[in-house]
């Protein structure tokens, strides 16, 4: 039963959501399956809220243990726990109308802490792209060499200096991006779309059950 119940729920819920995207009421009125699908979407939010609770407990147990045992880096764990509590308290106070002070503070916490930290992480990508490109473009074999030459041509075609060197570089770059690159991307996309579709179908029909845990 431990396996059958989730499989039945998956099938029933999956079919309702799928059919609600295909069929509609003949008279143009409210379609019952669409209504149920909407309800189920609300249920997902409720289940997700419980999942956030479970995940938060995991965070508190792991970092609480690190702080309690004063393991290396315990001060970071303490900062994390304090941040969770502060953000949660201010967020709840702002949500439940404790006044404009809390709403402003909540917004400021996001604008002044979360956003800059996220932007800083994203900015690291610029350096990582350079180091990854260096490794990828080493001429280790034929494929890497082809990639290197293609990349050089595209860079010359896209950089203003390329056109000054030879006015055909932009045309070559555009051809490389529009033709071979698009062909490859579409082939992968079609394969992945069919694969994703088949995987969804396997999950819906209960063929794929690895996510339920245990050996099949």
């Amino acid at each position: 039963m431990r396996r059958e119940i989730p499989l039945v729920i998956t099938f029933v819920v999956g079919m309702i959501v799928l059919l609600a995207r295909i069929f509609t009421a003949a008279d143009g009125g409210e379609f019952i399956l669409a209504k149920w699908a909407g309800e189920l979407t609300d249920w997902v939010i409720i289940v997700s809220a419980f999942a956030v609770g479970l995940a938060s407990v995991n965070l508190f147990r792991i970092h609480g243990d690190i702080v309690a045992r004063k393991r290396p880096g315990w001060i970071n764990s303490l900062t994390l726990l304090a941040a969770i509590v502060v953000f949660a308290v201010i967020g709840i106070a702002a949500r439940f109308g404790a006044g404009p002070f809390f709403s402003e503070l909540n917004q400021n916490l996001y604008d002044s802490i979360i956003s800059p930290l996220g932007a800083a992480m994203f900015a690291i990508l610029a350096f990582y792209i350079a180091s990854a490109a260096y490794r990828a473009f080493r001429m280790r074999n034929l494929e890497a060499s082809v990639m290197l030459f293609a990349a050089i041509l595209v860079m010359l075609g896209r950089a203003p200096v390329g056109e000054l060197i030879w006015n055909q570089f932009p045309s070559i770059a555009n051809w490389l991006v529009d033709i071979p690159n698009t062909v490859g991307q579409r082939a992968i996309m079609i394969g992945a779309a069919i694969g994703g579709f088949a995987t969804s179908l396997r999950i819906l029909l209960g063929i794929e059950r690895g996510h339920l845990g245990g050996v099949e």
Binding site: I22, F23, A26, L59, A132, G195, A198, T199, G210
Partner: protein, 260 residues
Amino acid sequence: MTIMAGRVTFLFTVLIMGAIVLIGVNMSQAGKWTPKIRRLAGLDAVEEAVGRATEMGAPVHFSPGIGNISDDSAPQTFAGLEVLAYVTELTAKYNTEIIVTIRQPNVFPLAQEIVRQSYLAAGRPDMFQEDTVQFLSSEQFAYAAGVMGIMNRRRIAANLMMGAFWAESLLFAEAGAQVGAIQVAGTAAMAQLPFFVAACDYTLIGEELYAAGAYLSQDKVKLGSIGSQDIVKGITMVIILVGSLLATADITIIKDLLSK
């Protein structure tokens, strides 16, 4: 009840594909057809990666991506979780620590149960610890920072990333490369594939990720469905080819049919 405008083709696609998959699965189960999956170097390398981690006495890191189980990235997340079950059993066999990091709260209980059950199946329930599966943050870059911190602090020897990834893909792959970890990635996220190919030792591209569960388990039912998937792909290729030729000749019958 009537079919929505523009969904007729979708309905028939679902029905035909469903029928092909079910027929394929039944034939495979009955032993009448056993599809073979070509060698996937990325999946063969998973055991090598875990073996290397064992030799080095360092942990294996696994990420099932940052996609959820209730949106269009769900198939990738489920495919990643299939691989997680296999990897956990391998780590139990080799007595090597695995650290599973999670971004989506919805994925967390699934991953925890998969790891717990896989350890149990391998006869090593004692290996499951509270911090084996860690929820880090639902914020994309906070999760990325957490993963990079774990990679550096724990000096992981193997980094396995299977699922849906976005901009954090290269952050993970480069952080893994910097600590000298052997890296295997798999995703169907088109924009992230070049980063994984550039920075990882092995990459499962697109549909290879979806075939991972069948490839690793060699389960007849799953192999049957993967084989059926290839038949659907063949039919799609024929439709594309014929449609392109007809459209070139200004005959739009297939295009019109698909837009119904």
